[in-house]
Symmetry: C2
Subunit: 340 residues, 2 copies
DNA sequence: TTGTACGCGTTATCAC
DNA sequence: GTGATAACGCGTACAA
């Protein structure tokens, strides 16, 4: 008998019906002490564990949450994940991760997984809807987006307040005395990046910085895009005194590009990032940045998802968390100021 | 009708029995052209997708592989994962990730997942058996271990040849002229670490280095353990001229500790790591190390697992891949040699 | 070529 | 307090 024991094996051994076994497990108070004991004994002997699949099939709902991530190596991912997991586990849910690699086929596969009821809810780390059959995509289970809002959808988003964070970053640069600032990493499709850009603009407007002193460059948030931004800027007439980067990866690229040209940070150029990835502390000088409250995001996102599961009628809400500025070594006053 | 369409909805619409629908999907050649077309049309209209859960329950086998990882942020993990995924997908399997955080409760949860047939196979990234019910642990599905062999078990291991790698690293140090070398990161429980240590010993023996010139320190493979190793060594009389670290994290810690004491690498001390994590290139000087052939490991591991699934009678085999030495900037000849 | 009916392991609704 | 039994959605002998 190498097959896992079923509820029937237990029933036979305890000499009761399978109904009684099920009751003994889920509503112990409704079964007589003595029978309950017999059942428990039988369970111990057979090593019975309820078959989660059959259970979910019958109940039409599982206790697993699927987290969809395009890139598992994203330094933001793991700590958000831990927040998600801890909160889920506290409510008796388990967490499974699907790695989509930004690939439609893989997305479809996971979509089938959830649509067949093997997951009760979905956490999207992707910034877009999972691809796949139209029919499947329309029947998404309760879902939340973390880290990046889902473009063009009504999926509730839990994450950092990008606009407020962007504003904080820009203000830090301004208060250090910078007046000509480059924003690296504008985007037409990524909502989070757009919002950070908005915060930047708000701060610049409030400080009455003329538009020609705002150098805005596109970028996709990669290290390369940061390097590229530096190159593009050096081909222009006017250089900024500070770089505000849409995220830390971009900032790392910018620092890299600047270092390659022999410039000293922060003496000659100031750089500020966004996210506070682990890398930010290792680089020299350590990167001043805006910190993502990652585990708080995970915790809140899962909490939202779970309430959606328990009370489906309730309208889901966005949850924006204001981030903190982390001052390290990559920002100082502009060179021109100290020359005066 | 917001519920997903079932096979019965399709059958009704195509005016056939569910058996015919099932056949039309799985053995199209066994159903008449005209009926097949009607069925396909009905499928298209309803947006039907077969319920993977019911299917697995009926067939007693799913097409998902579960990957168990204690720490999703391990820089070694993601590229091994991609190797696993590509290979799995080529054979029609999907990959799901369970993050155990080295926690027994979580391990048990995932164990239940597989034991209820929701995953056909298991990939262990943990270095130990998943914890849980004895009964469950004994009924593990076909499994392979990657990255780190599973201690005290017969689960086949696919990974780097740690001993050969350890030997290569030591030989590199020796051929640079070092004769007093510290090994940081010995372990009594972790097989991979032990094997690297063995390779180290082999090389030292072959070079006839006296045991008193081998400084072996315990360590758990974390950055902290590297720092700690440096501290411990500096409290002794004799210092090594080179550090062979059980992995890159340890090496980073060692470099960190050395830098904190104002030493120059590689002029005053040489350091070599093992793994070749992304970090290794960013640090200064860039770390000379042994490279894990990560995606090859993932590919081979999944291939092994899949053959175990298809032909269960076959004896599983270990698969050791010889790693390459990656020479960067953290090793040079010992200071004493250049002083001569 | 197609349809009927059973079973996979549960839970829940009835009766007793 | 307990036991039959009907679902959940699917695949597949077996019968037609």
């Amino acid at each position: 008998m190498s097959n896992p024991a079923t509820i029937e094996d237990v029933a036979r051994l305890a000499d009761v019906s399978i109904a009684t076994v099920s009751r003994a497990i889920h509503t112990p108070e409704k079964v007589a002490k003595t029978t309950r004991q017999r059942v428990n004994q039988a369970i111990a002997i057979t090593g019975y564990t309820t078959n989660a699949m059959a259970r979910s099939l019958r109940m039409g709902r599982s206790n697993m949450i699927l987290v969809l991530a395009p890139d598992i190596a994203d330094p933001n991912f793991s700590s958000i994940l831990i927040g998600l997991e801890n909160e889920a586990r506290a409510s008796g849910y388990g967490v499974l991760i699907g790695h989509t690699q930004n690939d439609a086929e893989r997305g479809l596969e996971y979509l089938k997984f959830v649509s067949s009821g093997q997951a009760a809810g979905l956490v999207l780390f992707t910034g877009h809807q999972p691809f796949g059959h139209q029919a499947l995509a329309e029947r998404l289970p309760p879902s939340v987006a973390v880290f990046e809002p889902v473009f063009d959808s009504k999926i509730p988003y839990v994450g950092v307040d990008d606009k407020a964070g962007g504003r904080k970053a820009a203000e830090h640069l301004l208060s250090a005395g910078h007046r000509r600032i480059a924003f690296i990493g504008d985007s037409k499709t990524r909502l989070g990046q757009q919002r950070r850009r908005q915060g930047f603009d708000d701060a610049m407007n409030a400080a009455r910085i003329a538009p020609e002193n705002r150098l805005v460059l596109d970028g996709d948030g990669t290290i390369e895009s940061g390097r590229l931004g530096v190159e593009q800027l050096f081909m222009r007439d006017t250089l900024p005194t500070a770089f505000m980067c849409v995220n830390d990866a971009t900032a790392l690229g910018v620092m890299n590009g600047l270092a390659a040209r022999g410039y000293d940070i922060p003496r000659e150029f100031s750089v500020i990032g966004f996210d506070d990835v682990p890398q930010a502390t290792y680089v020299k000088p350590a990167l001043t940045t805006i910190r993502q409250p990652r585990s708080a995001i995970g915790k809140q996102a899962m909490a939202s998802l779970l309430t959606m599961l328990e009370t489906p009628e309730q309208e889901p809400t966005e949850h924006l968390i204001i981030p903190d500025l982390i001052v390290r070594g990559s920002v100082s006053e502009p060179l021109s100021a100290s020359l005066r």
